[in-house]
Point group: C2
DNA sequence: TAGACGCCTGAATCTATAG
DNA sequence: CCTATAGATTCAGGCGTCT
């Protein structure tokens, strides 16, 4: 079981952290080396991703430069100066240059993704529309756009716009045909008052003790993302032991949360200073015990059981009459696992659909048997069969 | 005053509603005719917009086809069929065709916009990224992206994605240099618990009595937008008497709300059926009285008053000493309306900035005078001067 | 020690007008 | 176009200090 790889089985001292920069990453023509995990590579994102084996990554989180195009300085009403993102890495000559940059890194990320992998890209209105269009052009299949609503955003100081109170994430599969991507629907629902998790997430910005600062108290990275955001992403769309790639690693939130949650990570960061801060940050993380991060069991992942095997196992005898919950419809269990309604014979699903006049029906929940304590769905018999299957496997 | 044009001054019988289709709208070479208002034009959006005078529109709301790319029909868990958008107007051969369509209508809309006009475009993840990128390419300047959070979205029936619980609006000015666009910041703030309006709006979807239905109970239009959404947009970004253009008029929500709020509208709609439903809907609207829709007064729009004129009016005598709210700093009023601090002479703003060591200062709120009932800001004297100005004008 | 109070800060495309 | 100047403009939360 993959979650056995986390926690106590992977003591801190065995975490390999490369201090050699990007020496292992050459041009695309360089021989492919074995997959490296749990490293922070210092270097260019595109080059580094092209050095990875194709189809080797389970999940990508990317927080690319936003291309903010800030013209002048901004002061608060009290005349204090807003510490804006004016770093060189956020400067692009024009939209064409930003688009070319975006196409390059997205194509390289897509190449490294397994066919079942998905990608999350975060951005603001300055860049997210270009990013999304290019993703569609490259063949990514958008699954959702997600809104990170900030409960404590910076206000609009001039009163000329709406408070910019959110950022946007695009969640996409590698291809339109991908049907086997990881999405822990049930776990998210269980953790959300038993309601489906929506596309709008309310989370505070990264501040307080979580925010990395240097010895002088200045923030280490201007755009550090909150761990809660990464935790939701990683829990939703990956399994323990999966490899999470972050091509714009920055302060390393992705790596810190991946390690906490028993996932492997691979970070790429151009700035040596950020990479070093990220390594130290991640090294200080104690992974959660495996039991805390094991994927919740979900109906979808349960082994499939034929009704025939329920009959074969003696859990219900051939000849027994099943009914719907209200006893309106009746059908007889056949020895081959089909049901008979008079001359009509069909699966539990087909017969259930037939008597209701519907195109489809889940027979496991529609048909009931007399359990001794009243009517019960035959799904309960399936649960017993599954439990026996598990016992036999151990 | 422009708001005098609304309400009782414009009785229902005078609303001109064209029943002649797009006969007045020819090729761009056709002679420009007088601006038409409060009409629903049946025809192609691009052609109709190119027939409008340049720079004639104050606000654009556009709800273009979303290019949903639905592959097959979707059923709910109870097997009922979801009534999806599968109309011909939402079918495009590929992204290139959708992009070309989008460029055309956005360029035509931009041409019709006054330099001070703004545009709202609504979409979902299927199309909004392409729309936003093309808007930037055409020279629109994005002011905000706005998230319409639905408190009652359709659930995700397959449990393979997050509930798609929002749609995205892009709010943009015609040009990056536009500084004089309409934005009723104070009114929005006053209606939002005295907090600035954020970029995430929580509104229910259009249902119940608001939803247009035909005699058989089928919804008239598959994507009718809620009036509350349009009301917020129109109230935020237009003034009474302004012209609001909607190139994809559909069921006419834009027109109905514009008429209610004392704005003029111009709707363009390709389908005769929708246009007729929209006309009937709008005709049934009674505009609100002018006083209900008059723009709230804002400090920004008050006439400018020089401190010299406050002195000349005898509201404060030369030689009087002003202080800040805590009495730490002192300055003497000069006969010419400047302040003196020892040998230093400057405006109320410059001297206020100087004593605080700040680059700027609002002298009206910084400097105080002895009012008899304690210290009061000289802004109160300005208010008196303004009131006298108003009285004199009447 | 708990609460009051003030200071600081966050991915920001953040003014209007006169001359 | 430009420059100079008037003057309008912020919310939530963390943290340190004071009472």
């Amino acid at each position: 079981m993959s979650s056995a790889r986390v926690g106590a089985t992977r003591p801190k001292s065995q975490i390999k952290v490369s201090r050699t920069g990007m020496s292992n990453f050459g041009s695309p023509r360089a021989p492919k080396r074995a997959m490296s995990r749990n490293e922070v590579v210092v270097g260019d994102s595109v080059e580094a991703m092209l050095g990875l084996p194709e189809a080797s990554v389970d999940l990508v989180f990317a927080d690319p430069p936003y291309n903010l195009q800030l013209a002048s300085r901004l002061t608060r009403p009290d005349q204090s100066v807003v510490d804006a993102v004016d770093d060189d890495w956020d400067k692009f000559a024009d939209f064409a240059a930003y688009d070319a940059f975006t196409r390059d890194w997205l194509a390289a990320a897509r190449r490294a993704m397994k066919p079942s992998a998905t990608i999350f890209v975060i951005g603001s209105y300055h860049n997210i529309f270009r990013v999304g269009a290019i993703m569609q052009d490259l063949g990514f299949w958008i699954l959702n756009d997600i809104v990170w609503r900030k409960n404590n955003p910076m206000p609009n100081f001039r009163g000329r716009r709406f408070t910019n109170a959110h950022e946007t994430l695009i969640w996409a599969a590698r291809d339109a045909s991908a049907r086997n991507y990881t999405f822990h629907y049930e776990a998210l629902k269980a953790g959300n008052e038993d309601c489906q998790m929506r596309s709008d997430w309310l989370l505070p910005i990264c501040s307080g003790g979580e925010r990395l600062k240097d010895s002088a108290g200045r923030k280490t990275h201007p755009t550090q993302k909150p761990e809660a955001l990464l935790a939701r992403i990683i829990l939703a769309a990956s399994n323990p032991g999966d490899l999470v790639l972050d091509p714009f690693f920055g302060s390393g939130t992705t790596g810190a949360v991946a390690r906490l949650l028993g996932r492997d990570y691979l970070g790429i960061e151009r700035e040596q200073t950020y990479a070093e801060a990220a390594r130290a940050r991640i090294a200080a993380i104690t992974p959660l015990p495996a039991v805390a991060v094991a994927p919740a069991p979900s109906k979808r992942n349960e082994p499939r059981i034929a009704f025939a095997s329920v009959v074969e196992a003696g859990l219900v005898a051939p000849g027994v009459t099943l009914t719907d919950a209200k006893g309106h419809h009746k059908a007889v269990v056949r020895a081959d696992g089909a049901l008979a309604i008079g001359p009509i014979v069909g699966s539990i699903h087909k017969t259930g659909a037939l008597v209701q006049g519907l195109p489809a029906c889940n027979g496991w929940t529609f048909w009931h048997f007399e359990s001794g304590a009243g009517l019960a769905p035959i799904d309960e018999l399936r649960a017993v069969a599954r439990a026996r299957l598990r016992d036999a496997a151990e």
